[in-house]
């Protein structure tokens, strides 16, 4: 789990910490073109739409194959929205921003409160 982005909030244990907080997990398999594209796209996307209220966990299944079962991963890359619930899966290199928005069900922070 050495790819996990430093995250002091630990949203798993404290989901109500911030209802607008996005806990995202990106599953990749090695440093493939698609994986790298997905990572770049995800970071850019989060900075644009979720600045300050997200954390990203990148899991390389080449190193931790046992983790694929838990989140029912088939396609690579897969982005899993752990929080807010419900759980969502987005597959592909995240190049289609519109679909990512729909998939992650992104709302501006202002709507939350």
């Amino acid at each position: 789990m050495n790819d996990i982005t430093p995250d002091e909030h630990s949203p798993e244990t404290d989901p109500d910490h911030d209802p607008g907080h996005y806990h995202l997990r990106l599953y990749v398999a090695g440093q493939t073109t698609k994986s790298l594209a997905a990572m770049t796209n995800l970071k850019r996307f989060c900075e644009q739409h979720l600045a300050g209220r997200y954390d990203i966990e990148v899991i390389d299944l080449m190193e931790n194959p046992q983790l694929a079962v838990g989140d029912q991963i088939l396609a690579i890359p897969t982005l899993v929205r752990r929080l807010p619930s419900p759980l969502k899966r987005i597959i592909g290199d995240l190049s289609n921003t519109e679909k990512v928005l729909v998939g992650l069900d992104i709302r501006p922070k202002a709507d939350q409160s």
Partner: protein
Amino acid sequence: MPDQQANPTLPKAPTGIEGFDDLTYGGLPAGRPSLICGAAGCGKTLFATTFLVNGATRFDEPGVFMSFEERADDLAANVASLGYDLDGLVAAGKLAIDHVRVERSEIEETGEYDLEGLFIRLGFAVDSIGAKRVVLDTIETLFAGFTDPSLLRAELRRLFGWIKERGLTAVITGERGEGQLTRQGLEEYVSDCVVLLDNRVEDQITTRRLRVVKYRGSSHGTNEYPFLIDHEGISVLPVTSAELDYAVPGGVLSTGIAGLDTMLGPGGFHRGSSILISGQAGTGKTMLASSLADAACRRGERCLVFAFEESGDQIIRNARSLGLDLDQHVAAGRLRFEAARPSLFGLETHLARMHRDLDQFRPQVVVIDPISALRGSASILQATLLRMIDLIKARGITAVFTTLRGDGSLMRDDDLGVSSLMDAWIKLQNLEANGERTRTLYVMKARGMSHSNQIREFLMSTGGIRLVDAYIGAAGVLTGTARLIQETQEKAVSELRLRETERSLRDVARRRSAIERQIEELRAGLDAAQDEEERLRAEDRLRAARVEAERQELTARRSAAE
């Protein structure tokens, strides 16, 4: 691995499914993917599970079950009734189950992707237990979860290539599609071995069938073979050997009826032969067969009776009236009845059950009563019986078939007979004459032995079955009362003759004593004549002496005078 095709013998992975390994000469191709396809409910998952469980328990080949439909719990529960303990095998590290859930609604596609995750999961599961076998059930579900079929096809092609590369023996199941074997045409990718399962309903009777559609690099049985799914799992009715190469067991089997044994040259039927008992209703077919069964059991052999018209208990009760105690044989485990209505299953299923029962019970004698109860078209019946006989003969079992049709045909207006398949044929006939019916029996044929060509009358009583020689004379064959009358008449005639002879003898004796008497009289006459003769001779001598004496006296006187 790619070189395997050039090998003279393709390595095979046995499935442990009874019959299937015979018909594929060893099992599925080892280290390659095989496709098992069929409509819903025809046993694909069970086939795949059996393949894995047998691999883990019998062939020391651990396996991975990747289920795209059923959850691991359901899977384990479904096969628990067959005695498969999936959870135990998982705990022992011999089986890994991975349930792959594909939910379209949860997945959003946002660009390029591949199915590397599936490969990683499978690879991980395989590596974790050192699996040699893999089941993917049913991988076509993926097509419902992802929108890009061309990408899926490419990935599946890669997956099957990967399976081959890893040397995994894989079973891939696929749902039957319109116009092709599977909905997504998986048979294009899995080209090494394709098995088709089928569940057909004809005349409201379901028969499961299995066919090996293709098997690259190996010969295989090409027919549709019936298979069974029941509490003992899957079993395929194996190839009926097209060759007639079974070993013939030696020895002669007594029928248990003294009179019948003496009609046959060696004193009974050859072991391992098929015997047909034909006759109309009430001619005693079942009882004759019961006698044979009883005789076998009393010799300590096992006998299996397939009854299609009566229950086992009923046969036992009826046989008791002949003084046969079949109950004791059942209790001793030497006799077993398998009673089932012919309409309960299709012919194929009957055959498959029969096959299984034969292998389990291992009888020396089998009774099938009656074959005329089996329903179906003539050609199918003929084929079924042929295979039934093959099945039995290949095991060296003596078979007794009864049939209601007196002429040995299967149906009315049908010249396809079963008689030519049989080694021996006993024909029972009721003869009607003089207001009564009598049971008669004769041996129509008995291959490989001399046999009596005579009609015998047979009697069924509490003492058992007894054969009586029928009266054969100038008036024809007489049985029953007619035979008795004839016999009485003959007796009367012979008594008359006896008395006449005695009278003649007495006459002769009388004549003889008369003659003897005459002889006596003559002899007395002769004696008298002899006496007379002697007396005359004596008188003659006296007279001569007297004449001499007188002459001498005269001479003396004359000399004195001179």
